[in-house]
C-alpha cells in the first residue's frame, strides 16, 4: 500500500508550485491557475486523510466536493472581473495595475 506520506508530499509540492505560480505570474489568469493548483493540493490532502483515517464516513470527500464547487464559482466571478478590467485598461498584467498605492 502506498504510505500516506507520499500523498502528502505530492500535495505539499503541488501547493508550493501553486504558490510560486501565484507569486511570479504576470498575467492575472496565470495567478488564477496557480490558485487552482493550490486548491487541488488541498483536495488531495483531504481525500488522502479521508481514505487513510475513516474510509466509512468520507468527510474529506464532501469537503473536497465543496471546495471544487466553490473553485468553480470563484473562477467564474474572477474571470468576469478580469474581463471587466480588461475592457477598461486593455491589460491584465498585475504589476501594471497599481494606480492606487501608498
Amino acid at each position: 500500500m502506498i504510505p500516506l506520506e507520499w500523498y502528502l508530499a505530492l500535495a505539499a509540492v503541488l501547493f508550493c508550485t501553486g504558490i510560486f505560480g501565484v507569486l511570479t505570474r504576470r498575467n492575472a489568469i496565470g495567478i488564477l491557475m496557480g490558485i487552482e493548483l493550490m486548491l487541488n493540493a488541498a483536495n488531495i490532502n483531504l481525500v488522502a486523510f479521508a481514505r487513510y483515517m475513516h474510509p466509512t464516513i468520507l468527510t474529506g470527500h464532501i469537503f473536497a466536493i465543496f471546495v471544487i464547487t466553490i473553485a468553480a464559482a470563484e473562477a467564474a466571478v474572477g474571470l468576469a472581473i478580469i474581463i471587466s478590467i480588461y475592457r477598461n485598461i486593455e491589460l491584465i498584467n498585475v504589476d501594471k495595475i497599481n494606480v492606487m498605492k501608498w
Binding site: V94, K101, W102
Partner: protein, 661 residues
Amino acid sequence: MCDFSKNIMELTWLIPVLPILAFGLILLTGRRGPGEGAYIGIAGIAASFLLSLAVTVITVASALGGHEFHPFTHSVVWATLGNIDVRMGFAVDQLTVMMLMVVTTVTLLVQVYSIGYMHGDPRYPRYYAYLSLFSAAMLSLVISDNLLLFYMSWELVGLASYLLIGFWFEKPSAMRAAKKAFIVTRLGDVGLFLGLIVLFWYTGTVNMQEMFAAVPSLMGTTLKIASVALPVLPLAGILLFAGAVGKSAQFPLHVWLPDAMEGPTPVSALIHAATMVAAGVYLVGRMYPVFAYEPHSITLTVVTVIGVTTAIMAATIATVQHDIKRVLAYSTISQLGYMMFGLGVGGYTAGLLHLMTHAFFKANLFLGSGSVIHGTGTQDMRQMGGLSKKMPTTYWTFLIATAALMGLPFTSGFFSKDEILLEAFHTSLPIFWLGLGAAFLTAFYMTRLVALTFWGEARDPSIHAHESPRVMTIPLIVLAVLSLVSGYIAWPSNNIFHHLVHFGDGAAVPFSWTVMLLATSAAFLGLGLGLALYLRPVISPSIFREKLPWAYNLLQNKFYFDEFYWAVLVVPLFWITKVLARFDARIVDGLVNGVGYATLGLSIAYSWFDRVVVDGIVNLVGGATRISGRVLRYGQTGVLQNYALVAFTGVLVLAWFYLFR
C-alpha cells in the same frame, strides 16, 4: 480706667481706617472733591491726629498714674487653619502712643505743606490719595498687635512709597527709582517674611505678646538645615532685622533711598525721613524681646555693627554731595544707623527717643529744602547761595533744625544723641568713638550745606528766590518748635520718657558729664571745620579734592555701590533669564515636543535635515513617527504580487518564528 476712656481706646482701630476712607473718597471724587482732594486728605489725617492725641493722653495718664500698666488689646479671629486660630487686632502701649503722635503730627504738617508745594500739579488729587493710603498703612503698622498685620501694613507702606516716588512717572529716572525702591525693600521684606514664618512656626502664634512669652522656652532650640544646626532665636532675629535693613535703608540695602529723592519733596520729608524709614527702627524696638533674648545677643551685635557702619559710610558720602536732597538723604541714612546702633548697644529708650526727635527735625530740614527748591527751582547747591536774606523764615527754621541734627545743647537732638552715645560709652568704646566721628561728620556736612545754600552771595544770577507762601512756612515753624522742645521730656534728672518707654527693669543709665562734653565738643569741632572751609575760606573747600582725589571720587560715586550691585546682581540675573527663556523655548519645548506630535504640522514644510539645524534638538519621536509612517507607507506598492509576497513571508516568519523560537 473709667469706661469713657475704655470706649475711646476701643476706637483705636479707627485711626488707620479714617485715612483709608479719605483715600477711597479722593479716588472717587477725584478733581471734583473739596480742594481737589486735599481737604479730604487733611481732614482724614486730622481726625486720626485728634483720636491718637486722646489715646496718648489716656495712656500716658494711666502709665504715670503709678499702678501697673498693661497694653490695651482687642483682637478678632482672622482665619482658622487646621486647628490654629490666627487672631488679628490692635494693641496700644507707650511705644505705640509715641509712634502714633510722631506719625500723625508729621503727616498732618506735610499734607498742609503739600497744598503749597504741589499746587497746580496735573495729578494733584491722586497725590493726596496716595498720601492718605500711606498714612493709613503706617498707622495700622504702628497699632498692630501681631506680626502678620504688621507685615501686611509694612508691605502696603512699601507700595505707597513706590507710588509716591514714581509720582511723576513721565520722568524715566523717577520710574526707575520707584521700581528700584520697591524691589530693594522687597528683598529685605523677604527676610522679614521668613522671620515672621519661623516665629509663627516655633511659637505657634503670630501675636507679639504670646511670642515674647514663648521666647525663653526657645532659647536652646536649633533648626537643622542640611546638617547645619542654626539656633532659632538669632536666626529669627537676624531675618527680622533684614526686613528693617531693607526698609530703613541700612548698609547693604541703602542704595534705594538716595534715588527715592526723585519723588516730590514733601513725600521725601514724610516717608524718607520721618515715618517709613523709621518703621525699621520701630520693628527692632517693638520686637526687642526677640532681639535681646540675652544681654549681648548675637542679633544685637549684628544690629550695632550694621548701624555703625551705615552711620559712618552715609556721613562720609554726604560730605561731598551737591544735591541738597541727596545730602539730607544720606544724613537720614546716617541718623538711622545711629538709632540702630543705639538700640544695638542696649539703649532701647535712647534709640526710640532719637527716632522721635529725628523725625521732627529731619522733616523740618526736608520741608525747608523743599521751600528752597520751590523758591529757587533747583536742587543743586552750587547754584544757590545767599538765600538767608530772601527766605528768612525758611532760613531760621532750617538753622534750628540743623542745630538739633548736630546735637548742639538745648536742642532735642542733643538729648537723644547724647543718650545713645552714653549707652555706647557703657557697652563698647570703639562704637562710642565711631559714634563721635559720625557726629563730627554730621556737624561738618550740615554746616557745609547751610553755608552753601543760605550764606554768601547768590552764585547763580538767573535765580531770583522768593519766600514760600504761608501755607508752607507755618508747618516749618511748628516743626522747628518741636525740634527744640521734643527733647526736653527726656531731661536727665527726671526722665519722663524713660519712665514711659523702657525695656525690662533696667534703670536709666546714669548721666555722665564726660560723655556730654565729648559729644558737644565733637559737634562744635565739625561746625568750626565747616565754617572754616565754607564761610570765610581760610582753607579752600577744594583742598580735599586735590589732596585725596581718589577718596573724593570714591565718595562722589557713593562707594560705587550702585555699579557693584548692577554688575553682581542685575546683569547676571538678566543673563540667566535670557538663557533660561531660550532654553525653555528650544530644548525643553523641543525635547518634550519630541514626545508630542504637534510640530508635525510645522515640519511638513521643512526638509528633515533643515529642521535638525533650525530646531536644535529635533522633535525626535515626532519626526521618527512621521518617517516610519512614510517608510511603511511605501511598502504599499499597489502591485498585488508584492502584497501576496508580504503575506506569504508573514506566514513563513510566523511559522518559523514559533517553531524555532
